[in-house]
């Protein structure tokens, strides 16, 4: 996926929404900036398939040598799929966070929150934060 076509949370998750069989399916991951800030990832807790997630609320966590960080869902809906191989191969997030580093897919049940940022706005925010 092209980073410029994604939407972002200010908590550094990205989301890409596509239509499949009339359903809105959101693919969710974390940004390259987040991976760079976290560094030395050791663990990721994925949600269960079938779990309900809510926009702005925690759906999992990622842990580095230094600290634990919650993962916040950009969308509300039901988890249809998780990237099960990812926790054992977190290095993927360093090289390919927007494609093979996806974390979960969600069958979206509500409108996307207006607080999601486009790429340019998100980049600007990261620039200010770093």
């Amino acid at each position: 996926m092209n980073a410029e076509e994604l939407l972002y949370c200010d908590t550094h998750e990205w989301v890409f929404v596509s239509e499949q069989d009339g359903q809105k399916i959101a693919t969710v991951g974390i940004s390259a900036f987040a991976v760079e800030q976290l560094t030395d990832l050791v663990y990721m807790e994925l949600p269960a398939v079938g779990a309900a997630v809510t926009a702005g609320e925690e759906f999992g966590e990622v842990e580095s040598v230094k600290a634990v960080s919650p993962l916040y869902s950009p969308v509300s809906g039901t988890v249809t799929e998780v990237n099960e191989g990812l926790p054992d191969n977190l290095d993927i997030l360093n090289t390919d966070p927007y494609e093979s580093g996806w974390i979960m897919k969600v069958n979206v049940s509500e409108e996307l929150p207006e607080s999601l940022l486009d790429h340019a706005t998100y980049q600007r925010q990261c620039g200010e934060a770093s």
Binding site: D40, V42, E61, E63, V65, K66, V68
Partner: protein
């Protein structure tokens, strides 16, 4: 990593002489005890492994450096420190604690007995950055009327660099006009760098061999360049406070504000080796806290510092509960995923009946109870 409340108010955003160099090297700078310090340059794990296998350079100039001149210095320090000072030979370094009257730990320190090239002897106390203000005030409050002692806080006029790892000695040897390879561990000498005094000690906080240098602040950048040039053959790299923390944790060295505080005594912290009960003449030593500690020793400790190892990859972090048979019995003081052991390690305080290596316990990791096993300390020891 830092206790906000303990930060001295007079310091805010203090910078070491190497601040610009850290930024230039891409360090992520954080506030640590009022100092702007590098937490990491790129990867904590890489900096950790470079220290275990090769050589790294740490700026530890935030540590407090207090110099005691005068003939009363040994007596004053002998009263302040849990470990005897009066019998120290020139060139010795000792790890010690400073306790309050209740036996609670005010700080853990290194005390150096040194001699200048012109022959005057003095003591140096290296204290934690977060405690420097508190310790200076404490010492001044304990000052005897007749003490022939002069206390100089040398922290801001000097820098302190730690060169650590199996290639550390070979790195610094050509730069020093003393035979550092023949120096024993926990020994120190005053030598020269560019005609100015430089204290070399075979000490560190990583569990590896290495040295720490105390140099004049205005020479820091020049000496840094010399070290980097000498270390080029090993590809010496800088390491930050993040790696310093994982390295000391694997080596089970306590960190003030985590394993040690004023509610903790040296015996439960497993630091009995740093308490001298009887002086060289066979007399019971009297130091601040000695009566309270003698009572603890007689009655036995209620709780003990332990090591915990766990399976999986989730680390037990500071503040997490430790359980035995479903009951909370203690608290994690620090923990991380150990880069060397490739498993989570942590330290905690638990009642002594749960402190034996092999004991099965559980840690409450954000609501999930994860099995943990009491391990002997340290987790890692260099071979």
């Amino acid at each position: 990593m830092t206790d906000e409340a303990a930060q001295p108010e007079f310091q805010d955003d203090a910078r070491t002489a190497l601040y610009d160099w850290h930024v230039e090297k891409g360090a992520r700078m954080v506030d640590f005890a009022g100092w702007q310090m590098p937490i990491q340059y790129a990867s904590i794990v890489q900096e950790h492994e470079a220290t275990r296998k090769n050589v790294t350079l740490f700026d530890v100039s935030h540590m407090g450096r207090l110099r005691f001149n005068g003939e009363g210095a040994a007596s004053l320090l002998d009263r302040l420190l849990t470990r005897s000072v009066k019998d120290m030979q020139v060139g010795q370094v000792r790890y010690s604690l400073i306790c309050n009257h209740d036996g609670g730990i005010l700080d853990d320190v290194l005390v150096y007995h040194l001699e200048t090239p012109s022959g005057s002897r003095y003591f140096l106390l290296v204290v934690n950055a977060s405690n420097r203000d508190k310790i200076v005030n404490w010492i001044e409050a304990q000052w005897p009327d007749q003490a022939a002692v002069e206390l100089c806080d040398r922290t801001l006029e000097t820098s302190m660099l730690a060169i650590q790892g199996p290639n550390a000695i070979e790195t610094v040897a050509p730069l020093l006009n003393i035979n550092v390879a023949e120096m024993k561990y926990f020994r120190a000498r005053v030598t020269h760098q560019m005609n100015k005094p430089c204290i070399v000690s075979r000490t560190g906080y990583t569990g590896e061999d290495g040295v720490e240098l105390i140099i004049r602040g205005d020479q820091t950048n020049h000496i840094l360049q010399n070290i980097l040039a000498a270390g080029r053959q090993f590809e010496i790299s800088p390491a930050g406070l993040g790696a310093r923390d994982t390295l000391r944790l694997e080596s089970a060295m306590p960190l003030y504000g985590h394993e040690l505080d004023e509610q903790t005594n040296p015996l439960e912290a497993g630091l009995g080796f740093a308490v001298t009960w009887v002086d060289g003449e066979g007399n019971t030593r009297e130091f601040i806290g000695s009566e309270a500690l003698a009572e603890v020793k007689a009655q036995g400790v209620q709780r003990q510092r332990i090591g915990l190892v766990m399976d999986g990859r989730r680390a037990a972090r500071e503040g997490y509960g430790v359980l035995a048979e479903g009951q909370e019995i203690g608290t994690i003081t620090s923990g991380t995923f150990s880069p060397t052991l490739q498993q989570p390690v942590a330290m905690a305080y638990v009642p002594h009946q749960f402190a034996n290596p092999g004991q099965s316990l559980e840690v409450d990791i954000r609501g999930k109870l994860i099995p943990a096993t009491v391990s002997s300390l340290p987790f890692y020891k260099r071979t």
